[in-house]
Symmetry: none
Subunit: 428 residues, 2 copies
């Protein structure tokens, strides 16, 4: 028997929302060694939810639902769960108080519907929601003398669902399950395309019989390699993963920037912290996305001083000191302006490193000389300056993403190679 | 009876791939008026696929599967479909030739597996694949004297699947279905919580029998209201939707900021453009997210001048003109500093409107006086200045999102009410 994930919501069925919650749960369960046998999406309809729950109870021994726990009339998961588990609903006064306090602490009035959100099936445990207001609930049932089924209902808001899955569901699950060992780790690469990468490591790919698996997961930040090992002995599978990771790292060298949940901005942050360097950004076509990414990392305030988003030329001139001649002669999208922007933000904000972007994000604004997707990025640091021309795509959002990735990777490579003491001495 | 979408593939179940194919099919079917009752994901396993197909045949009258039609050993959809429809498999020689020609025309060798891809269930029609090599197949079956069921299998590669859905499946479907009309539109609200919203419009919610439905879809940007109408006469259902939309707009007044695919940043951009106003942002805790959102809108360069991300106090002082006294006495997270930042960026970048954020995004950095989630935002414009205290959550990413939403909504309300000519005259 296996796990089943039930997503409740019309917005998924009509294709308005992609079912990212089911993917997040599938990934999390896979990580702890639980196989998901089926995912089902049903509408906000009592009979559909009830039928799905009954089928799941016949076929799965772990069931997780998301959605339909809000305070409004179309949130009817509670009723269907109570019906499927043949129990009643009850209002928990301690939950009424806890949710009310949550509203009050945010300076908001307590709505009447707080009593709906404090309603759970009789006999179920409450799953706390530290991010939002709607709690979840869970229960177990006997499948056989040795085996108990586990059921949990989580809200549909992704940030709430994910926090509750990790903090509330997985720990309870570990009490009722002997988990098989599946381990996987993610090796993060950037600056190399999927095909070239594949050719480069072809002979290192494990055979299907080895119990080791390698998957390529490309996105706008680079290609992530997922290494997975299955077995009974955790030490043995860790050793296998270590060996594969070492071989891949040796082959791919500086294309590998991190591992696991790290991303390019946290890798850059880690190196900046370690080398006690500070950074500032001067952004035109990325419009603040690099600053936004850098500031997503908790603790960024120790190395990130700030940014100047210079969307119009007058800001480029007055806030960053770009020459009017450079703008007139070379244009805003040029090597000269990119370098002046990086230098300008570095000097004016007093940072060790300044980076810049200027380009045509699209979809309009291209010329024959500088089509949409033409972007200059630059770096200015204690080890000198450099500018790089990127020729990207026709898609505005993707151009912002790809430019941000290129800049963060440029910074990473420069500061990895940077001998801080020597260079800072040069500078002084 | 309704449609069911079956997605076949382990990569979905382990959360490696988000099920975007099901969303694309759901959206397409919704557009032509077919209601999707259920989506199911199963693994690349004969019995799981067969069971899902049999359940679908009992419950749905339109079934579409994706995945498992490739040339490798784990592509086993053909066998399961033949079993579910109690027929055999046959190799179609005309398909062998067609697929072989496709390989040859791309200068590639014809692989042996071409015969696998040319295998379809006996009696089924072939669905051509102009994008890739694997064809799909479809059939119909009798449900009653008047009604036939329709079944189609499509490959899992999204670009192939989508082209075949539009070019091959929908036209065949129109031959066996009198399509009902389903229309929906999205009314976008912000600045009002789901519970309060529900209480405010309780009496406007259509009864289940009316053929009109109203759903609440909350996210970090606000609560979206989806209005759906079902019927035979497209003019009539449009009128019904118009009436419901008008009633909701009248009741909710300025909480409604847009409709359809619009978002808060495009609504703000639309109003700024119309009133010929410019904006600049001064961001601390949002780290550039507001600028990033504003610059996501194509054409933003006509009203967005730029941003100063002042992550450290020295940038707040030197780039924005914040007083050292204010920082020392009130602290960086204070009404005074927020107002000085908004005024500073407005004056220094020469914008009509300046907005600012300063707060404790978390997860660390909170104090008893100013816990994580304490954020001050401010507005400075031709109509004066204002600052608002937000008490948000413990989640860094969500705090950035919620603060950005609050600022964009603050701007929207101020500029909606702003009589540009009068105010600009006052200013001069």
């Amino acid at each position: 028997m296996t796990a089943e994930i039930i997503t409740i919501g019309d917005e998924i069925l009509i294709g308005q929302t992609v079912n990212s919650n089911a993917a997040a749960i599938g990934e999390q369960l896979h990580r702890v060694g639980i196989e998901v046998g089926r995912m089902v999406v049903v509408s906000d309809d009592h009979h559909d939810i009830l039928r799905a729950l009954r089928q799941a109870r016949d076929e799965a021994d772990l069931i997780i639902t998301t959605g339909g726990l809000g305070p409004t009339h179309d949130d009817i998961t509670r009723e269907a769960v109570a019906a499927a588990f043949e129990t009643d609903l009850e209002i928990r006064e301690e939950l009424v108080e806890a949710i009310s306090n949550r509203y009050k602490s945010r300076g908001r009035d307590v709505p009447e519907s707080v009593r709906i959100q404090a309603t759970v099936p009789t006999g179920f445990d409450v799953l706390n929601n530290d991010v939002g207001t709607a709690p979840g609930f869970c229960t177990t049932w006997d499948i056989s003398d040795e085996r108990r089924g586990f059921f949990a209902s989580l809200p549909g808001v992704p940030a709430e669902m994910q926090a509750m899955l990790v903090d509330e569901v997985i720990p309870r699950l570990s009490e009722v399950r002997d988990l098989r060992q599946i381990r996987s780790r993610m090796l993060l690469t950037t600056g190399i395309g999927e095909s070239v990468l594949q050719e480069k490591i072809r002979d290192l790919v494990p055979s299907p019989e080895s119990g080791l698996r390698l998957a390529y997961l490309p996105n706008a930040g680079g290609v992530r390699l997922r290494l997975t090992a299955v077995g009974d002995d955790p030490n043995h599978i860790d050793e296998e993963l270590d060996a594969l990771e070492a071989a891949l790292r040796e082959r791919l060298e500086e294309y590998v920037y991190g591992i696991g949940d790290e991303n390019l901005e946290s890798a850059v942050g880690r190196i900046l912290s370690k080398k006690k360097l500070t950074i500032a950004t001067a952004e035109s076509c990325t419009g603040g996305l690099i600053a936004n990414r850098i500031s997503d990392i908790s603790g960024a305030s120790t190395y990130f001083l700030g940014a100047i988003v210079a969307y119009c030329n007058s800001v480029k001139m007055h806030a960053l000191g770009v020459d009017v001649e450079a703008l007139d002669e070379d244009g805003a999208v040029s090597e000269t302006v990119a370098l002046q922007m990086a230098r300008g933000v570095r000097e004016r904000l007093g940072a060790d490193i300044g980076v810049s972007t200027t380009g045509i994000a699209g979809p309009t604004g291209g010329t024959p000389d500088k089509p949409v997707g033409t972007v200059w990025v630059a770096y200015s640091g204690p080890d000198g300056e450099t500018a790089v021309l990127l020729k990207l795509v026709k898609h505005r959002g993707l151009n912002k993403e790809l430019t941000t990735t290129a800049v963060l990777d440029l910074v990473r490579r420069r500061i990895l190679a940077l001998d801080v003491e020597a260079d800072v001495q040069d500078r002084s």
